[in-house]
Each structure stands twice: as C-alpha cells, then as structure tokens.
C-alpha cells in the first residue's frame, strides 16, 4: 500500500517541432554482429533477436557478417533500379496530385528497401497482403507502371475501375492482394490464405504487412493467434517507420521496447532488421520465407525504418515532429546505402547511377504520359458510371438493376 496518488502516463516522443531530432533511444548494433540461426531453430532460442537489429551493410558500405545474402552484383543493381524507380514514381505522382490530377497520394521515401527487397525473396505464386506503403512489391515484380498510374488517376484504364482511392492497387497475377484502406484487416486474411494453402497441401505462402501504428489493431492479434495455433506458412511483416500519421511509435508499442517482441508471447520467432539495408532486409525475408516454405510456421519481422516524407498528401509533418528529423535518422537512406555498397563492390559508379536515374525518370515520365492519355481524375477518359453497380455481386440483383435504371446510366 502507498499514500501516493496514481499518475497517468502518456508516452512522448524524444522531440517535437522546434526541438532537435533525437534518436538516442534507437540502439543500433554493429553491422554483422547479430548471429544467423538455422531456420528450424526452436523459437525459444532466439528470443533475443526480437530486441536487436540485424544489419549487413556497415558504415563503409561493406556487406559483413553471417546475414550477407547470396545476391550478385546484377541482382543488386536490379534492386537499386527498383528502389530508384519507386522513388521517381513517388516524386511524379506526388507532383501529379499537387497538380490536381488526382485526389491523393502516399509516398515511400526512406522505406523503399523494405518492399523492393522482400519481393525479390518471395516466389511468383506467393501472395502479399500489403498496406498502402508497399508499392515496391509491384515495381520489383515488374507490374506495369502505367497500370499503377491509371489506378492513381482513376481513369478509364484503371484496373479497378475508379472505385478505390489512389494507391489502393490490386493484382492477383502479381501476388498483390487488393488493399483495403482499413488498417490491419488484411494481416489476418494473409494468415487465412496461408492456412488455405496448407489445407490444400500446396506450396504457396503468404506475406502479411502492417505498419507500426497499426499493430495496435485487433486484426494483428487475431493474426498472431491463428498463425501460432495453426502454424500457418506466413511471414508477418511489421514496417516500423517510427510514425503513424502524427503519432510516434511509442504510443502503439508501449513498454515492449520493440514490435518484434509481440511475437514472443505467441511462440512465433521474431526478427528485427535494419529496413534501410537492402541486403539485410532481403536476407531476413529469405530466412522467414524459407521457414514458411518448409512448414516451420510463421515468422514475425520488424523492419526498422523511417518515414522520411509526409504520411500522405493530406499531411504536414512539420506540425508534429522536428522539421529536419529525417536527417538525424541513424540508419540513413536505403538508396544511398545500396549505391555506396555497389560502388564499393565495383559494380556501380556515380556516373552509372546518374545515367540510371535519368533513364528511370524517362521511363516513369513516359509511363505517366501514356497513363494520362487515358485520363486523370478530373479530365479525359473516365471509368463508366455504370461501373458503380457492377461487382457488388457476381450477378446484378434486382434491387441494383432498379437502382441502375433509376440512375440513368
């Protein structure tokens, strides 16, 4: 017993607008310092990995330690180009939104490595259940940029007929599940998809995606419960980019120290990885994917990264975090780090980089031009108003037929 009154505790970020960026609480182990256990290890033996950060690229751009993946120079250059494409794509679409060509856009700045590297580790038959910040999964799988843009413009060629907010892509053929917009709902669906594959005795696995803030949602818990119980062949990805709109990750994380730790309470092996390190991200993804594929069950992976841009085109981060916070982010920029590594490898030069940049920009601009030929949100080709009534059901029921008639379309 005590005579002290209780006090309410609300976690606060280290710094706010006007303050200096402060990441002193992000403990970063040396590259190469975290061990690489075999994939069939007893989860109990690697609980500590949920509190560390697996890193491969050191400060000099060298790949070091047990997690160095078997990616050759060509593969890494391809990865580099994927990330550069995503960044160029973001820049053009952000601008297109500012120009009023669409209603909304969400960038990936600083997080490109996560989805680009993961996609390379995954098989073509597998399925991602992404959030709105994993377009790298499409780009690294050669989904046409034009199709992405047509979706963003909600134009006549939009594969989903103008029905969804920009960036809410869907492509079964590219292993990219339709994005919901309701946070975390798909995390548990990924587990169900993986269960189905196991029930059928197939070989396909699923990858679930969620942001740091969204781990607080109930669907995250449901996913862990079902994945743990049925040992579903699924990789449970948490992209910790430090922010959920204006809310710092401490609000969702509470006292656990890391998001990876959430897995421990379910006996799910959990790894934490430097999400700005393309090689480490790939290596960890590969490890988790192999576990799923070998029927060893789910793995939880936390990607430690930083959302360098605004949450979306509706957001202005200077209202809630120091203006230059991103410059203080200790894990750097994924593109610069991979570029440095490629140069250190001798597989790349500043010149080739500039060339690639120009080339990629040209490709993106060409795609944009083609997409805009099919219309933008407010002008040119549009999906039909009849499309409002289609696909609610496989067949139009009588009441919708009446309504469509009434609508005069």
């Amino acid at each position: 017993m005590t005579d002290q009154p209780l006090r309410f505790h609300v976690p606060e970020p280290a710094s706010r607008p006007g303050g200096r960026p402060d990441f002193s609480n992000v403990v970063i182990p040396e590259a190469g310092s975290v061990r690489r256990p075999p994939v069939d290890i007893d989860p109990k033996e690697i609980r500590d990995l949920a509190y560390s950060i697996i890193r491969v690229l050191d400060r000099e751009g060298q790949a070091v330690g047990p997690w160095v993946p078997d990616l050759d120079g060509d593969a890494l250059i391809r990865g580099m180009r994927h990330m550069m494409t995503l960044r160029a794509f973001d820049a053009r679409m952000q601008m297109a939104q500012r120009q009023g060509k669409t209603s909304f856009y969400m960038q990936h700045t600083g997080e490109e490595a996560v989805s680009c590297a993961f996609r390379i580790a995954l098989g073509p038959e597998d399925m991602n259940f992404p959030t709105y910040r994993q377009a790298g999964l499409l780009i690294a799988h050669d989904y046409p940029l034009v199709d992405m843009m047509c979706q963003i413009y909600s134009n006549e060629r939009d594969p989903i007929k103008g029905r969804q907010l920009p960036v809410m892509y869907s492509s079964k053929a590219h292993g990219f599940f339709s994005i919901s917009g309701n946070l975390a709902t798909q995390f548990v669906q990924a587990v169900g998809w993986a269960m189905a594959s196991a029930i059928k005795g197939d070989r396909r696995i699923a990858a679930a995606w969620v942001g740091d803030g969204s781990t607080a949602e109930s669907d995250f818990h449901a996913a862990l419960v079902f994945a743990s119980t049925y040992k579903a062949p699924v990789v449970l990805n948490v992209v910790n980019n430090q922010w959920a709109i204006s809310t710092f990750q401490g609000i969702a994380r509470g006292g656990s120290g890391t998001f990876a730790a959430r897995g421990l309470g379910f006996g799910i092996p959990a790894l934490r990885v430097d999400g700005n390190d393309y090689l480490a991200t790939y290596a960890v993804a590969q490890w988790a994917i192999e576990r799923a594929r070998r029927n060893l069950g789910p793995t939880l992976v936390e990607y430690v990264t930083y959302r360098a841009g605004a949450h979306s085109t509706s957001d202005d981060p200077s209202a809630y975090r120091p203006k230059h916070e991103s410059e203080g982010w200790p894990l750097g920029d994924p593109l610069i780090r991979l570029k440095q590594h490629l140069i250190a490898l001798g597989a790349w030069t500043e010149e080739r980089h500039k060339q690639a940049e120009a080339e990629i920009l040209a490709t993106v601009i060409a795609a944009q031009k083609e997409a805009e030929g099919h219309g933008t949100l407010h002008s040119g080709g549009k999906p039909s108003a009849r499309d409002i009534f289609e696909d609610v059901y496989a067949e139009l029921p009588p009441h919708l037929r009446r309504q469509r008639q009434q609508s005069g379309v």
């Binding site: 492509s171 599940f177 449901a222 419960v225």
Partner: protein
Amino acid sequence: MPNCLRTCAGSVSRAGSDAMARMTMIEAIRSALDVSMGRDENVVVYGEDVGFFGGVFRCTHGLQQKYGVNRCFDAPINELGIVGTAVGMAAYGLRPCVEIQFADYMYPAYDQIVSEAARLRYRSAGDFTCPLVIRMPTGGGIFGGQTHSQSPEALFTHVSGLKTVVPSNPHDAKGLLIAAIEDPDPVIFLEPKRLYNGPFDGHHDRPVTPWSKHELSEVPDGHFALPLGKAAIRREGASVTIIAYGTMVHVAEAAAEETGIDAEVIDLRSLLPLDLDTIVASVRKTGRCIVLHEATLTSGFGAELTALVQEHCFYHLEAPIMRVAGWDTPYPHAQEWAYFPGPARVGAALREIMESR
C-alpha cells in the same frame, strides 16, 4: 414436394438421390454441410467448438470424424479471426463455411464482414472474390438473455455486397445452405435457434411439437439447392399479407389460424436478395400488410419492407402497414415472453388492421 412450398419456390436444383428423409433443422443443416463437403473438397468448416465436439448446437457433429481435421476444426475464440482468416481462404479459392456460436457474438467480426468480405469483389473489380458463408444461430425464445437472443439481420441487409438468408424449416435450411455455400459471394446464414428442434408458433406455454410432425421436415437426402431470393407463400389468404421470416413465419401462421382472419403468410427465406415481386403481388391483392420480426423495431428490416411496400403498393393499401417487432430494448431474460412478439401481439395487429378504414 410439400404442399406449402407450392408457390414461388423457384427452380430447385437437385443432383443425386431423390430420396427424402425426416430431419430436424439441425439435421438438415448438418446434411447440407455434409453434402457440400462431400461434393467439393474446397468446402471447409470451422468455428468455436465445431470440430471434435461438433458445435454447441451439434450442427457440425461428425464432420471432423468424416472429413478429417483439415476440413473441420476448432477455432480460437476470436470471431474477427474466424471471419478474417475465412476471407483469406475464400480469396485463395476455398469455400469456407464458418460458424459464429451465437449471432450475438458476431460484432467482433463485423468489420471483417462489412469492410472486407462484402467489398472485396467490388474494390478489386472482380480480381479477388469472397465465396464465404457465415452461419449463426439467431433469435430468442430460449431464455438466453441479452447475449443469446439477438436478431441482427438489419445490420447485414444495410451492407452492400452481402446476401442474408433466414430459413424457417428443415427443408429450406438445407436447400438454402447448399445454395449459400455454392454462391460466389459472401452469404450471412441466420439460423433461428428456437426452430432447431421443432417448429415454434410462439405459444411457449404449450407442448413443443417435433419437426417430424411438420411437412417441411421432409428433406431430400442428397444435393439440392433452393435459389436465394425466392420467397415462399406458406399460407394463402385474401385479406391481409403478413411478411415474415424465420421463427415468425410460424407465429404468423398461428395468429392467422387463431384469429380466423384470411391472412396470406409470406416466408421471405432470403432478405437480400429480396423477392419483391411476391410481396408486391400479395399486398396488391390483399390491400393490407403486416411486417413481422423478432429484431428490435427501430431500423429493423421491417422498416425496409414497409418502405418498399408503401412505395410499390401505395395505391392498393387500405390501411397503414403495421410492424410487429421486438421492443426497442436489449433482450431481457425473465420477461422473455412479454418481450417476444408472439401470436397474441400478431393477432391483435391482425384484428386492428382489419378494422382500419
């Protein structure tokens, strides 16, 4: 075919044996699951206690033993997870038919139902689909109190992308459940639990009759599907139309018998899609309409029925459409029979509507 199914039954599709058997509603549901699992190995069944034990109402009894633990299994107590994983499975290509132990416990799954299952086809323009059935026991009359008695159908009929089905007898339960499982879209399948073991006319103080005495307990043995969206006229009449579904169909029939009023009783069977044609034809004929349900009155499905009937039959109506429904309160325990819209309340409404104008 039983006599009382003679109208609007739609085309019954049937494969396999034409043999009939007497079944309770529970047996009919189990038979539908059995037949579906036997024909299509993509049909999987799970939910709380549905595996080894076979469900608290025994609707899945024996299925795990017959089809294996891969096809019928116990789920953690997380309705969100049950439906959420089922959405993923359906997208994969399976046909999950999951059980929510009581409709009162579907709320944790509501987001997955509304935001996910119902909209997947639409938002992906048909790239992904969600052929999923969610079964749940519904309704009162078993002294179940507030959390074992609810009728949440209006919470589904308001959601575009869902179909909502409520059988009132073993025959329909089997035919509709098989159709629901074969449907390419998510179907909410509400099972009036007070009907599981016998038809219930609302007279709680009289002995229970078993299904075996009711002609609609005669159910085809093998595969047969009843189309979703076709109502049945359970009782023909000229003076007033009663629109009902589930348990209230039997209450309506009892009230019509007791009052001697020449009421036509429509059993909707499917609320959405709705068989508006059958409703409109009947009300235009009778000129009077009573809408019945157990669910609370305000914003209940009866409101929608009333709105449609007044829209389509306005010039034929001789009296205001009346609604008889659960009172707008949580479902009480001790006062169950003062709460339940039984034959007395329906009879009073019949008499009142016949006096109008």
